[in-house]
Structures are given as C-alpha cells and as structure tokens.
Symmetry: C2
Subunit: 327 residues, 2 copies
DNA sequence: GACGCATCATCAATTTTTCCGATAGCGCTC
DNA sequence: GAGCGCTATCGGAAAAATTGATGATGCGTC
C-alpha cells in the first residue's frame, strides 16, 4: 500500500475535494481519483460518497480517515526521530501567516530557514486570519502566524512579538512633524480603521474607550495595506503596528507619531494544534522566528521573550541551534 | 512511501535476513534489497549494518524498526475496523502449531475456516514447541497452538482443550484387552517417553512420582509420532494424549487403556502476544477452534470452557459467529 | 589462511504500476 | 434547465518495482 495514497485520501477529505487535493499534491485530478479508488478497492468498501457535492465521507471512510490521520502523524514522527539522530532537518513545514505579518517579515525568515535547512521544504501562505485558524484546526498547516493569538481548545500558541502601535498620518498632516503626542490629541480626527470582525479593531476600540478618546471613522478595511493607501491619500489618520508602516515612513509616504502616554501593542503569536507534536523542521522554524534579533528590537516593550521551544538533547556538532545569521 | 517496503524491512529485521524475508514475502532477494535501500535513501541513513553476519540494526534502524512495528500494527487495526463494518473477514492469520496438535486436528479446522472466510488467508505451520513460542514472541505468527501453555511476560494464552492421557500399548501386549487399569499396574513396564526438555515429559514424570509408580524408560523421542512407532514395534508402552492415538487404535495398530484412578490431561492452549489485539480474522479462527463440538467431547474433564473471544456488537445477518458446521 | 558456502549489492531488461490528458457524466446553482 | 464545477473513465506515456544474473563480502571450515 502506498502511504502517499493514504496521505492523499486524507487531504481529499480535509479539503473535501479531489481536485484541490490533487493540485496540492502536485498530481493530476485523475491520479487522485485513481489513488483513492485503489484504497477503496483494497478495502472493498466505499470511503467517499461522491454523489454529494461537496463530497461526504461514508461510515467506513470516517473510520478510515480518523485512523489514517493518526497513522500519518505517527509515521512522520518516526521518520523525524531517525532524522534527528543524524541532525538532519527535512520534511515539510507548512506555515500560514496573516497578510500583515507575512508580506512584511516572512521573506527574511523564510530565506534564513532555507539557508540553514536546505533539505527541508517550507510552504508559506498568506491568508485572512480566519483562514489561518481554519488551516491550523483542520491540520492543513503546521504553524499559524496571527495577531492577538487565540488559545484554548485544540489550539496552543507561542508568544512571538509585541508590535508597538503608532499613529500614522499623511505626510502633510498637522501632526506629521511631531515625534510623540498624547492620545487625547487624536480626538475628533478623521480615522481609517479596521473592519469590525477583526480582533485588532476591537482591541483599538477598547483602547480608545479607555482613553476616553473618540475618532471620526471615515473608512474601514480588513487589511493594513488598504488602510495605508487611504491614509496616504489623506483620508484620515490610522493606528497601526509600527513595523508595518516602517517602509512607507522611511520612503516619506507616511508619517508616524509615537503615542507618549499609552503602551498599545499588537501581540503576534504562533498558533499550532496542541496535541500534535511539532516536527523537528517546524520546531526549527519557530526557533528562527524567536531567535531573530530584529524581533527583539521590534518588540518595543519589556515583555518576557517566549522561551526556546526546541531542546535537542544530543546535538554535539555545531548545528544551527545557537547560530545567528548576521542581518 | 510504500508500506510494503516498511513491512518488508520489519520482516528482514525479524528474520535477520534479506533472503528469508524476500522468500516469505514472495519476492526476489534483489527486490528486498532494493526496497530496504529505498527506505534508507529516503531517510538518508543506514538502517541495517550488512557488514555483520547475521546482519545487525544500526541505531537509526533500531528506532525505525520499533516505530514501524507499531505503525504496521496500527494500520492493520485501522483496516480491520473498516472491514468489520461490512462483516468482511480478510487479512492473513498466521498460526503456528506444535506437531502433535497440528498434524492431527488442524486440517479440519483450517478447512472450516477457509470455507467460512474465503477472503482471509490462513498460514499454518507445524513446528517444534520452542519455535512456536519464538514465533509468537517475535511477532512472526499471530497464534501459537501449544500444550501446557506458558503465560506471563508478553504472552497471553487461551485455554483450548484438555486431552485425557491414556496408556498406549502394542496390540499384542498383555494389557491390550483391558479398557481400564489402575496406574500402579504400569509399574516396571518398558516405557517409551518424551525427551526431557519437553514440558509434557516433566508433567508425566511428576504424575508418575505422585502415584509412586516408576517405569523402565527404554526410548525417548521429542515427538509423538516416533513414540507411537516405537510402541507399535513392541519397544514398550507409552502415555499419550488420547486424540493423538485414536487413528492407530481404530486401525488396530495400537491399543489404548484408560487409567481409572487418575485424571491426567494434556492441556492445549492458544498463545498470543498480550498487548497485541487480535485481528478480526485471528479472532474468528480462535472462535472456530473453541466452538468446535468435537473439542467439547475430547476435553474429557469438566473444566470450564474458555469463554468466546469474539464479540461483534452489530453483526445482524447470519454470519459465522454462531454457526455450527455439522461434523 | 585459503577455500567453499551463504548472503547481499548491483545492473540491465522486463513487467507492472502509476500517472497524465482528454472526454464524458453528474450534481449543484442560478 | 442551462451553465458551471467536479469527478470517473479511458488509452497511451512515463515511472516504478521486480527479476535474474553476476560480483563482492563475511563467516565458518579444513
């Protein structure tokens, strides 16, 4: 029996689609169909009910899926154990990041990871926050990079960074010159904010309320890029994580103003399934995220750093564990 | 990755031989070699040290083997669960029986099993008792049929039959006419017995000692067939399980005499690995062994029957469970 | 310590399996 | 009910496992 076929079956089930799973596996839809059929033939039982759209699992399929899910996980762990013995880091790490984390920072981390562990494969996706959680929960990704990380249930999270929130204003705005202001000075400004379904919107609302400041919301977007564009054209001011506007500030397209009397930060975290032990490769990726010195600079406040995840008992030779790559 | 390759690797390790494992799997030695090499290449690690004869596992191989052993077992269970859903009994049952059980009785049981479950594969081997235990312990067989079953450690046993021991004499012997005698009458007879390493020999010795009877041992054999031949040619008398001499007694080649004042029996048991759940097919085979009505007749004493192993919650249609095959 | 035996690796040829692309059929949605 | 998206099916192509022959190596034996 081909374990690849089992893996494919599980992916078909997870995605509720043969074609999606086939594409993800880099094979043709036809091949995916045949692979699952081979499994069904071997068992002499229908696993998937294709007469429904989207497809559904049969009772047998349910049982088989549950079992194979664990089986594949076990197999991965076994291989990992052997590979660890020789300090090899291989396998695939699937990372899903929210747009505002991903586009700005992940490139550098990914490069570093690929440089240190050329044998490992890194899949990076930039998604909507909800989709990141879905993937983690559905076991379609190993690590999720999100802001205001949720915990509990089958989710566990690792604290990663705390990004200071700054006021962002058009470069010709009255406040553009100031390096620091008090929150109260924002009151009544035209404001470009996040849409209400986003956690960060609710956090900012709460912060403003606590400071007894209210603003005039003129636009709402569900992503930072659009907010920045709106501020650039003078639609209003915004409150955004400092690292996400650094490039525009340096280029002069936007101005940032620190808020002197509050410590608003956007916490970023790495979420993963609680019960699933991370693969060595995944652990190493987390390690790179956490060990990065830039991050230490960026996380402006004195919050304790997340402790190192990876503990390798017997790494004697100079492997990556403690290594720093010069920026 | 091919699960077959993993299975093959495990078999190679268990047998400490590529060629043996290849033969057992029904493939060429070349193929076996390449299959294991494929695994090693995938892991980038040597699993087996071929420079030793017989081959040895490397540290990586040790880890991999332990993991894969369980993995294969898990996979088997998963498939079994699915198959059970549709009342299918497939898969392989490997049975190792001691000669004296096997040759006489197993044919009928095997036939019955193959008739009831044509999709399942039954491997029957007749071996020396020690070898039966080795196979069970080494996980090379699912069920072992032995006399005086050992328990404990990783072994578990199911009571199967208690065969009454009878005195067997040449057909022209002075006692040949009697249907019953007292044990004391054996005293001083020329006796053909088992070799000392066999459990049954030690049991008989103990019984004779308890009855304060001693005999004149003229020959020792490690199997029942040879003992019968020796008795046939008049070398002496023997004490053997009744079912094993029934054919010769009916044919007139030997005479059997019941022992009136003792209840000596040879217990037969089904041994298997304790922690390993039996496959459905294996359970059904056990069921056939236990449900047989002949066995009830043969087990002369009133010892409680082993309870039925198999419990299938949802078998509604008239499947084999309760079915009896007329003798 | 050389010989023979058993065992395993290697190689090219062949068989078997898998995979692909095109096409047809079917369910779902509008 | 037409259109769209999805999956099964089919023949041919590609990839893979398997084989048989041959060579290398460890191990016991004389």
């Amino acid at each position: 029996m081909h374990l690849n076929h089992v893996e494919l079956f599980c992916d078909v089930v997870a995605r509720r689609s043969f074609s999606k799973a086939a594409e993800a596996a880099g094979i043709s839809q036809s091949s995916a169909s045949q692979a699952v059929q081979a499994l069904e033939e071997r068992l002499g039982a229908q696993l998937i009910d294709r007469s429904k759209r989207p497809l559904e699992l049969t009772a047998a399929g349910e049982i088989y899926f549950d079992g194979c899910r664990d089986l594949l996980e076990s197999f991965r762990r076994i291989e990992d154990r052997v590979l660890q013995l020789q300090d090899k880091v291989t396998g695939r790490v699937r990372v899903a990041a929210i747009y505002s984390v991903g586009l700005l920072q992940m490139g550098a981390y990914a490069g570093r990871f690929r440089e240190l562990y050329p044998d490992a494969e890194l899949d990076l996706d930039y998604l909507h926050p909800d989709e990141v959680y879905n993937r983690v929960l559905g076991d379609e990704t190993d690590l999720g990079l999100v802001s205001f990380p949720r915990e509990g249930g089958s989710l566990s999270s690792i604290r990663w960074q705390d990004q200071p929130m700054v006021l962002v204003v058009p470069s010709r705005h009255a406040l553009a010159g100031s390096s620091k202001i008090r929150v109260a000075e924002i009151a009544g400004e035209n404001y470009v904010g996040f849409t209400e379904e986003l956690t960060i919107r609710r956090a900012i609302d709460r912060w403003l309320r606590q400071s007894h400041v209210s603003v005039n919301v003129v636009h709402e977007f569900d992503n930072i890029e659009n907010i920045k564009r709106a501020v650039e054209i003078g639609a209003g001011v915004a409150i955004l994580p400092e690292p996400t506007v650094r490039r525009e500030v340096e280029a002069g397209a936007l101005s940032q103003v620190r808020l002197a009397d509050v410590r608003w930060t956007r916490p970023l975290g790495i979420v993963h399934r609680r019960n699933k032990t991370l693969s060595t490769a995944a652990s190493r990726f987390v390690e790179i995220l956490l060990s990065d010195e830039d991050a230490a600079v960026e996380s402006g406040n004195g919050a304790p750093r997340a402790s190192r995840l990876h503990k390798n008992g017997k790494s004697a030779n100079g492997r990556a564990s403690g290594r720093r790559v010069p920026r």
